[in-house]
Symmetry: D3
Subunit: 286 residues, 6 copies
C-alpha cells in the first residue's frame, strides 16, 4: 500500500479535487483550509491514508440540482434553480439548512455543506452534513408567491428526504413561514406527518426544540477535545462565555456538566460575572 | 402580459442562463446556438414568449451528481464522480447515453443533454432528452475493475431510472460490456428484469433493436419539415445519401416510405448509384 | 345454500343497497334499472345467486372523496371536493372519466361509475368501471386558476392511479387543457411519464388514440349478443346507422368486420344511403 | 381581501357545507354547533377569515369508503362497507377510533371524526382527527367470522395507515379481539410490526399504554384554558372530579400537576372526599 | 486463472453442490444429469470455466419458504408450507409453475426449477426459470377451503412477483380455479390488475393465450440446434410429429416456418399422414 | 373441537414437523426438546390445542436462501449461500444474529432461530426470533474480500429488513467489521441511516448499546417465573451469580431491581462474595 507522507497525500487529494471542481472557488477554499489542519491527524492515523478517507470526504455523496417553476402574482411563470448537496452521511442522516438567496450557487452550497459535516460531528450527535436552497429571493415577494415557490420546490425535494435520510432546516431566507409551506407540501404529497423531517417549524404545528443545543454543545466539546490533546480538561477550569442567546446558554450548560465553571455571560447591554459559576436556570429567566 | 420581440426575449433568456451557469462554457455555447435559430418560431408563436417556454427549456429538470467509490485490482479505493442530467421530459421519458471518459464534467453533460432533447424530438418518438456518465476512464482497466466501477455507479443511479422515467443508453466508453455490468446490478438491486430500462445491451441477454432507426429517421424527418416550410415535399424527389451504416440504411428506408427516391449510398471503398431508387433490403445484404 | 328465485334475490339485493345508500337517488335509480333486466341471466346462472355476485356488483370497491384547496387569481383560498369511485375491477384496471361540474356529488359519480362497468364490459376490452371528478366549475376561470385547481386535485389523486390500477379520462369540464395540467402534475410527483395513465391528452405531447373505438364497437357487440340470444347473427344483415362521428364510424367498421352491411350514415346536414354497404375509409375522408 | 363579520363568515361557511353535505344530518348538526361557538375566536383573529380557515376545517382531507366481502361460517359471501374519514391532520398524524356497528354510515363517521379533531387538539399532543369503521355487526358472530371480516377490512385499510400517517384505535364493537385480528393482518401484508399503528392492542402482544391519559388530560387542559380567559388559574383551586376510571384518574393527576387540589372521586358504589387533595397513587391501588 | 479440464471442472462443481445440498436427492440427480452433458460446451467455451458460470448456475438466486396458515370448513387452523424457488433470471424475468401437492418439498421444487431454466431458454423467449408451490393438497377440499388457502398463500407470495420480476403459472393442483383465487388476492393487496403477473387464468377474466406455444416451439428449436451442430438443417426435411394437442400443433407450425415438412400427427384414436406437409389451420379445425 | 391430551397433541405436532423437515436433524432435536417441556403449559391452557398454536410455532414464518456471488482477490468469482430464517414475529419485529461459518446450513439456522424465539421472549422486550448467515468463512480472507462478500450479501438481504421488520445482529464470524460493511451497503442502497436496523455496530459510527442487557435480564426473569410457579419470589432471596461479563452484570442489576440480594460474582482469576449484595456500579468499575 501507499507510504505517502501526510503532506504529500493532502496535496494530492487537494489537487485532484481542485481539478474536478475547478469552477467552485468558495468550496475549494473551504476544503483546502480544512485539509491543511489535518496533518497531525494523519500522522497519528496513517491508516487513513491507505483507506483513501480524504478522497471520499471531499466529494459529496450526492448533489441534486432541480428546476423550480412557479407562478408569480401576475400569473407569469418564473424559473429558479433548487439545490440539495448531501455531503456526508458516515455519522448519521444528512442534516443542514436550506438557504433562499440570489447568491446561492453550487459552489456556495458545497462550501456550506462541507463545513456542516464538521459542525454536526462536533455536536457528537449522530448526524451527517448537508446543505441546500435556491437562488430564489423571498425579499419583496407576497406570501402567496413564497408559498407557490415553496410548494414547487418541495414537489421535487420530497424524494430525497425523510427522518432517516436527510433532515433539512432553515437558514437565510428560510424561516418559520417557509418551513411551514415546505412541510405542508411534504405532508400533502407523502401523506406522512413526520415530525422530524424538517426542523425549524413554528411550535404551534409541531416544531421540535430538539437540537437547538447543537452549536453551544459543539463549541464546548471542541474545546474539551483541544484540552485533551495537551493532557488538560475542562473540569475545574473557569470559562469566559460571551453572549446570552441559545449558543451561550447551552455552552454554559455543557461547561457545567463537564465540571467547568462558566463565570461570564453578556448581551448587547452589558455582562454578568459570577465567580461561583453562572446558574443556567437563572440565566434563562433573565 | 409581455410584448417583447423574439430577439429581446431570446437575449434575456440567454443572459439569465449565462448568469446562472456562467462556469459552463460548453453548455452555454450549445444553448446560444440553438436559441439564435428560434426567432422564426417565436414570430410564429408569440404565445411561447408569454408562457416562458424558453426559460424552462434551458434549465434541466433535474441534475444529479454522485460519488462513485470503487476498488481497483490492488484493493485501493478510487473515487469518481457520476452524473445524470435529466434535461427535459415534456415529450416522454428521459433518454440519452452514458459517457465514461476523463473529459466528462457537468458542463459537457449539460451540453450533450441539451442537444439530446432536439435529437430525440426529431425522431417523432415520444422521448425526452438526458445525458449522463462519469469521469471514470475504462481505458487500461481490467474487466473486473470496470465491473466494480459499474456496480458502484448503479448503486446510486438505480433510484432515478426505469422504463417510464429515464432510459440510459451507451455512449463513449460505455459499450455492451459496461451496459451488461450496469444492467446486472440494476436487476440485482431492484429484482426487476426490465427489458427497456437500458438500451444497448448485447442481444444474447435481452438487448433490443428498438430505436436503432432513430438517427436515420430523424435526419429525413428534419429534411421533410424543412421542405414543408417552403411548400415542398420529399415525395418524388431524388435524394443523395452518403454512408451505408445504420444511419444511412434507415434514412433510405424512411425516404422510400415518404415517396422519395434514394439514389446513392457509399462506404469507405466506393459508392453505388441507382437512379430507380436503392432497394433497402438489397443494400442490407451487401 | 340458498334457493331464492331470481326475482326475490334481486329484490333483496336492491333493498339492502337502498338501505345502505338511501341518500343517493341517482345511483339507486340506475342500479334498480339494471338489476331488473337481470332476471333472465339469473335464471340461466343460478350459481350467481349462491355466489352473491349482485351484492358485490352494487357496492363500489373503493370510493375516495378528498379536499381540494386552491388559490384563485386574487390569492384567496378556495375549497372544492374531489371524487374517485373505483366501482368494479373484475375485468381489468378501473377506467372512466373525470367530470368537473357544480352538479357533481357522490350519488352522481356512483351512478356514472356503475354504468361505466357495463359500457366498458361491452367493448370486450379488459377494463373495469370507474368515475370521478369534482364540484369545481372551470367555467369563467382563468387558465392559471384551472391549472392550480388541477395540480391540487392531482396532489391527492396520484396515489390511486397508474396504468394497471386506474386510468382516468376526460368528461364534462375536463378536456385536453385539464388533462394536460393533471398529467403534468402526475409526472412531476411520480417522475413517471406513463403514457397510459390518463387518456384524452392532446396528441402533441403523447395522447393516444387507443380505445376511441370503444363506444362504437360496444354498440355493435351488444346488438350481436342480442341477436345470438334468438339464434340470429349480424352476418348478412343490413344495418341502419345514424350519425357520422367516432361512434358511428367504428360501429360501421365493426358491422363490416362481422359480415353485416351498414347501409346508412347521417349528420346534421343530411344522410347517405349505400345499399352495397358504406365504405368506412370513404366515409372518413368525408 | 374580505371584510366579512365573523357571524356572516360563519353563516356562509355553514351554508356552503350544508349544500355540499346536505344528506348528512349528524355531521351538519355537529358542525354548526361548533361553528357557532367560534365567533369570539374570529373576532380575536380576523386573519382566520381571510385565510379561509373554516372552509378547510369543515371539509375532511380524505374520506375513503370500501367494499368488505367476507365468508360467514356457512361459506356464504357477505358484503359490508368500510369507512375511514381522515378529517384533519394540521396538528399531527390522523388518530381516531374504528366503530363496527350497523348504525355506521358516512354522516355518523364524519360527525365523530369532526369532533375528534377538537378532542385530540385539547390533549395538546400533536395528533389530528379521524374516525372509521363499518356497518358490520360483530354481535352474534363467531370468532372466526369476526376474524375473516377484520382481515378483509384490513386488506384495504392497510394502504392508508402507518405510525406517521393515521393511527386507528378501538371504539364500539372494536375491542382487543378485533384490534388483534386487524393488527395481525396489517403485519401479514406489510411485514412490519409497527407497535404504534393501532392502539388498544391487548398488552400481551405489544399493546401500548401510551395516550390512555388523553381524555383526562384534555378535560383539565380545557378547564385551564377557560379559566385563563378570565384571568384565573387552576393553581390553588379545589376541583370536584366524578368517576374513578382512566379519565378521572388522569384528570386528577393533571390537576395535581397544575397545582390544583382534586378533592373528590366516585364510582358506582360511593365516593371519596379528601380536602387535602386525593393522592393518585393511592386511588390507583383502590 | 484456472486451467481445469471441463471434466474436472464439472466434477468440482457437482461435488460442491452435492455437499451444499446433500439432502436434496431429486435436485442433485437433475443437476448431475445436466452437467454431464455440458462437456462439449465447455470445450468450445473454456471462458465459461474461468467465469465460474456453472457454480452460479447450480445455485438458485433466491429460495423462499413460508408458512401458510388457513382455516378449514370447521374453523380449525391448518398450516402448510409454501415455496418459491427463483432459480435463474439471466435471460429474463423468472417464470415457472406453482404445484399444490403433498409430495412438494424443497428438493422437488429445486429439481423442477432447475429444469425450467432450460425449458424456458429453449423457447428463445427472454424468460428465466423458477418453480413454486406448496405441500397443500387441494384434493377433497371445498372451494372455499381452496380459496382461503390460496389467499393466505398470496398474502406472502405477492412480495416476490410482478410482470418484470417473476411470473408464476399453474401446474399440478393449480388450475384456473386456483389461479383465479391467487390473482384475486394479488389484485386485492396490490391494487394492480397486472394482466401478466400470473398465466393460466381463465379467459373470461383476463387470461392470456401468450406462450402456449412455448413447449412446441422449444422442441423444434432444440432439434434445429442439434442439426446445426452437424451442419444440417430442418429446411427441406420431413418431420414425424406424434400427438395433436398444443405441443404438437405449435411444433408443426414452427417446423413449417423453418421450411420443414411435418408429415404426421396423431391422437388416441388414430393418426394422419400428409406427405405434402400438414396444414396447421386445417389440423386446428379438426 | 379437538379434545386431544397435551401429550397426544405434542406427539402429533412433532410427527408432522419431523415429516415436513425430515432432513434437518439439528432443528428437529431442538424442537422436540422444547415441545416436551410444554405439557404443563397445555394442561393449563387447553385452548392452545384448539387454536393450533404449536403447529404455527414450529413452522418459520419465512425462510429465505439466496446466492451470494463475490470476487476474491484474484478476481475469481466465488459463490456462497446466504440464509435468513424469520421464525416468529408474534411478539415483535424479528431479531437474531447472522453467522458466517462453513458449518452453516438451513437446519442449523432453523435450530438457532427457533431457540431465539424463546431467548428473546424471556427478555420481556417485544422482539420476535430470527437467525441468518452464510456458509462463507471469513477466516483467512482479506478485509477487502470480506467487504465484497458482505456487500453482495446485503444486496439481497436489504429487502427483508428494517427497524420494524427484522433486526439482524452479529454472531460467530460477524463482528464490528462485518456489521460495518453490511450497514454501509444497506445505507448505500436504501439511502437510509437507520440506526436500529443492525445491532452490534462499532460505537464510533452509530452503534447502540441498547439490548446488551437482554441475556442477563432474561435469565433472571426466567428464574422469577419459575419461582412464581411455586408461590415464591426473588424478593429477599440471596442469589449466586457466576461470571462478571455483560450477562452477569445485568443479571445482578435485575436481581437487585426485583429485591433480591446478589452475593457472588466471579471471573477466571477468582470470585467475590458480598453478603450485603453486590453493588453493580462498583462491580462495573472493577
Amino acid at each position: 500500500m501507499t507510504h505517502q507522507t501526510p503532506e504529500a497525500y493532502i496535496h494530492d487529494v487537494a489537487a485532484a479535487a481542485a481539478n474536478r471542481s475547478h469552477n467552485e472557488p468558495e468550496f475549494l477554499q473551504a476544503m483546502s483550509e480544512v485539509l491543511d489542519t489535518l496533518v497531525p491527524v494523519l500522522q497519528e492515523h496513517p491508516e487513513f491514508v491507505d483507506a483513501a478517507v480524504l478522497e471520499r470526504l471531499v466529494e459529496p455523496e450526492r448533489q441534486i440540482l432541480f428546476r423550480v417553476p412557479w407562478l408569480d402574482d401576475n400569473n407569469k411563470v418564473q424559473v429558479n434553480r433548487g439545490f440539495r448537496v448531501q455531503f456526508n452521511s458516515a455519522l448519521g442522516p444528512f442534516k443542514g439548512g436550506l438557504r433562499f438567496h440570489p447568491s446561492v450557487n453550487l459552489s456556495v452550497i458545497k462550501f456550506l455543506g462541507f463545513e456542516q459535516i464538521f459542525k454536526n460531528a462536533l455536536t457528537r450527535q449522530r448526524i451527517g452534513g448537508a446543505k441546500g436552497g435556491s437562488d430564489f429571493d423571498p425579499h419583496g415577494k407576497s406570501d402567496e408567491e413564497v408559498m407557490r415557490f415553496c410548494q414547487s420546490f418541495m414537489n421535487e425535494l420530497y424524494r430525497y428526504i425523510d427522518e432517516q435520510t436527510d433532515v433539512p432546516a432553515g437558514d437565510i431566507g428560510v424561516g418559520a413561514r417557509e418551513i411551514g409551506y415546505l412541510f405542508g407540501q411534504y405532508r400533502r404529497i407523502t401523506g406522512r406527518h413526520e415530525s422530524g423531517v424538517l426542523t425549524g417549524k413554528g411550535k404551534v404545528w409541531g416544531g421540535a426544540e430538539v437540537r437547538t443545543q447543537a452549536t453551544g454543545y459543539g463549541t464546548v466539546c471542541f474545546a474539551q477535545e483541544m484540552l485533551n490533546r495537551t493532557g488538560e480538561d475542562i473540569e475545574g477550569r473557569r470559562a469566559l462565555v460571551s453572549g446570552s442567546g441559545n449558543v451561550a446558554i447551552y455552552a454554559i450548560e455543557k461547561i457545567t456538566q463537564l465540571g467547568g465553571i462558566p463565570v461570564t455571560a453578556s448581551d448587547s447591554s452589558g455582562y454578568i460575572v459570577d465567580e461561583q459559576g453562572i446558574d443556567v436556570e437563572l440565566l434563562r429567566q433573565i
